[in-house]
Every structure is written in structure tokens, then in C-alpha cells.
């Protein structure tokens, strides 16, 4: 069977749909992990960037990209991991931020804090009851990209996608 040749945009859109294993409401396209696709004569190069240096989901993404591409009829795929430009939470779109909030994770607020050493932790609204009466429990949550907060209003713990 001869498959119709897939265009760069079509392939990009398919790969961009791969969900994050830890935050399944977001895809690698929405997170900004998927940077580019290069169409070569003999292969396709998929360019990705990690959110954090040690992000364990990268291996999962690589496997998913290969299998999704194969399903789309693209067999020769090479994955290139780049570190520059540096991934930042600023790349997460407003729509994606809304999805995070609906999922129960407080989305990143503003940009990375400059007074990082002695500055007060940011006031983060509870994603469930929207109260500002919250408290930072730990800068490090269940994954590198999240911090742990507690809502004193509804007494629920919640995660905050921290700015980087």
C-alpha cells in the first residue's frame, strides 16, 4: 500500500497531540516541549527540549514520538534534544493554563522570580475554591515542575506549576 506523503504541518500536529504522562490534560505541543520538525530526504528529525534537565518524561516522549510517527507512516525518525533556547513556563499558552487550572493544578503566575533568595513566596490562588489564603508547603512537588501548596480556606492541598 502506498501512503500519501505526509506534510510537515500534518506530522507536527499529530506529534503535538502526545499527552504529558504526569499532566495528561496538556500535550507536548501545548507545553512547548516539541520545538520543530525537520523534513529531510531520508529521515524526519523531531526536535524537543526538556522542561527540567532531569525530566524523566523525556524518554517516554521519545518512545511515543517514534510510535506515533510510525502509525502515520513515517519510519525514519531521529530525535534531537536541544537545550537552547531554554524552556520556560512563559511558553505555556493561556488556553493551556486554563486547562491546568480545571485539572486542579494552579498555573504558573508571571515570570521567574528575580529576588529568588530572600523574596516572599508568591501568593497563589487555590485552583479549586480560588481563595488567596494559601500557603507554600514545599518548593518541590511530585514532579520537578511543581511546588506543593495548601489552601487554608478549603483545607485542600494542591500543586502549583512553578515559574522557570
Amino acid at each position: 500500500m502506498v501512503k500519501k506523503t505526509i506534510t510537515k504541518d500534518e506530522l507536527f500536529n499529530i506529534i503535538a497531540q502526545i499527552p504529558d504522562p504526569e499532566i495528561p490534560v496538556l500535550s507536548i505541543g501545548e507545553l512547548g516541549v516539541l520545538r520543530n520538525i525537520e523534513m529531510h530526504q531520508d529521515k524526519v528529525v523531531v526536535v524537543i527540549t526538556p522542561t527540567y534537565s532531569g525530566c524523566p518524561a523525556m524518554k517516554f516522549f521519545e518512545q511515543e514520538i517514534l510510535s506515533v510517527a510510525k502509525e502515520a507512516g513515517v519510519n525514519y525518525v531521529e530525535i534531537k534534544t536541544i537545550y537552547s533556547p531554554v524552556w520556560t513556563t512563559d511558553w505555556i499558552s493561556d488556553t493551556a493554563k486554563m486547562k491546568l487550572k480545571e485539572y486542579g493544578i494552579a498555573p504558573p503566575q508571571g515570570t521567574s522570580d528575580k529576588s529568588f533568595l530572600f523574596g516572599q513566596p508568591k501568593k497563589i490562588n487555590c485552583p479549586k475554591c480560588h481563595s488567596e489564603n494559601t500557603e507554600l508547603k514545599s518548593q518541590f512537588g511530585s514532579t520537578s515542575c511543581k511546588a506543593l501548596y495548601f489552601c487554608k480556606q478549603c483545607t485542600e492541598p494542591f500543586e502549583y506549576f512553578k515559574c522557570i
Partner: protein, 252 residues
């Protein structure tokens, strides 16, 4: 020494530092004082491992012998490791781990800040990435230093003793050799001796908030730039390298 050789060795130095510190931190998995701290320490260990992986991957590429980052991590012996003596020191009590982290992170913060300006593109981009992570690590351990120092009599004396003991490993952080001279000429790496005043100032600021005394400079341990280590590194490698050495073809 060619620029390429110097760069290879410099990446081993940075990569080994991250790898060994990551290993030490991972020893806390499941037994940190509180759950939140368990998550924090292992998250920091993971960031350090990611940084090590990039650096050793790049080193393997520079060496050009077809090795991978795993070959460099698992198949070198003690004398071929160039991490600082500071990061290989055993965890001790919680204050000791936090003190070790602080002394290392303040240094790394200024070093990586300079490295973001490197003319070497891979180093500059790794530094930009790592710096964002280091800021979170540094904030975390400095908060603990302040909390322990300005806490009870017991916590105060423990953190002060830990800092006093570890201070003798800080002189080495600012040592340079031929590798540095070659790369400084290329504007690839900073002159670390120039970072010392900033390192001192930031530490003093933290110590003041923590009601701690800055330890006095005295005897300083040295050796890691030549691959000479304290007795602890061998034990770390024995554990870390056991599986790939016992079962060389094992895959995950």
C-alpha cells in the same frame, strides 16, 4: 593541552560534580525527615542527574571515541573522576547535607551565571538551563540553613558544626589548573578566583540571617583536580557502578 582536551576535562569536572552530588542526595530517598523534604531532595538529585547526563554526553562527544555518557559514568575508576571533595562527603545528619548543598550551590550559582556568557555554545546553553534549577535548590537549602541556625540551641549547634567541618573543603572549589588557563583564553569558562568575593558575600548574608558564624579559613583539603579523592569516592563508585560492571550487557 589542546582546547578540545581541556574542554573534555572541564566537562568531566562539572559533570562528575553533578553526578556524585546527585548520588549522595539520592541516598536520602525514603528517609528524609519529612515527606516534603524527601520529595525536595530527590527532585534536586534528579536535576543534578539531568545536568550530569548532558555534560557527560557532551564530554563523550568531545573525546570522539564513540563512548556514551553511561560509559563515562560507569566505566571510569576513582582516579579518573574530577568532582570536588566537597560533594563526595557522606550525608551525615540533615544539617550536614544542607550545609554541603549550600556551599556547593552558592558556588555553582556564580559559576553557572558566568558560564551562560561562554563562547562555547553547548556550555552556555546548559548553564542557562541549569541556572534556573540551581536558583530553586539554593533557595531551598538557604531557607533550611536560616531555619536551623535561627532555630533551637540543638539545631543551631548542629548546623554550625557542619559548616565548620565542611569549610575545609571549600578552598578547592576555587583552584584552577592548565585546563582553566586554556579555556579562559578562549573565553569559554570564567576565572573562578574572581568569584570568591561574591561567594563570600552571599554566604555572609545567609549566615547573618541564620545567626551563624562564618567558619574561619584554615587548613584546606585538596586533590580532586588531579583525581585524588577522599576515602569516600571509592565506596560511592562501588555502589553506583556495580550493576553495569557485573553485567556489562544489561539493559533497562
Amino acid at each position: 593541552m589542546t582546547v578540545n582536551e581541556a574542554l573534555f576535562n572541564y566537562c568531566l569536572r562539572l559533570g562528575d560534580n553533578s553526578l556524585i552530588l546527585s548520588h549522595r542526595l539520592s541516598e536520602w530517598t525514603g528517609k528524609a525527615p519529612i515527606l516534603e523534604e524527601d520529595l525536595a531532595i530527590t527532585n534536586i538529585a534528579l536535576d543534578k542527574l539531568g545536568q550530569a547526563r548532558f555534560l557527560l554526553q557532551y564530554a563523550a562527544q568531545l573525546e570522539g571515541k564513540g563512548k556514551t555518557e553511561d560509559d563515562l559514568a560507569y566505566k571510569r575508576s576513582e582516579r579518573e573522576f574530577y568532582n570536588s571533595l566537597l560533594v563526595e562527603q557522606p550525608n551525615g545528619d540533615f544539617s550536614f547535607t544542607m550545609a554541603r548543598q549550600l556551599l556547593n550551590d552558592v558556588f555553582d550559582f556564580f559559576l553557572y551565571e558566568e558560564l551562560t556568557k561562554s563562547t562555547n555554545e553547548p556550555l552556555a546553553s546548559l548553564a542557562a538551563k541549569s541556572l534556573k534549577e540551581i536558583k530553586y535548590h539554593l533557595r531551598h537549602c538557604s531557607e533550611w540553613i536560616i531555619r536551623l541556625g535561627d532555630g533551637t540551641e540543638e539545631s543551631h549547634s548542629r548546623i554550625q558544626n557542619s559548616l565548620n567541618e565542611l569549610w575545609a573543603y571549600t578552598g578547592e572549589l576555587f583552584e584552577m589548573n592548565e585546563i582553566d588557563s586554556v579555556l579562559i583564553k578562549e573565553n569559554s569558562v570564567p576565572d573562578v578566583s574572581k568569584l570568591k568575593p561574591k561567594w563570600n558575600n552571599m554566604l555572609c548574608e545567609i549566615f547573618e540571617k541564620a545567626t551563624l558564624k562564618k567558619p574561619e579559613d584554615g587548613f584546606m583539603h585538596t586533590g580532586s583536580r588531579k583525581g585524588i579523592h577522599s576515602e569516600y569516592l571509592g565506596f560511592i563508585l562501588a555502589e553506583m557502578q556495580y550493576l553495569p560492571r557485573a553485567y556489562p550487557s544489561a539493559t533497562w
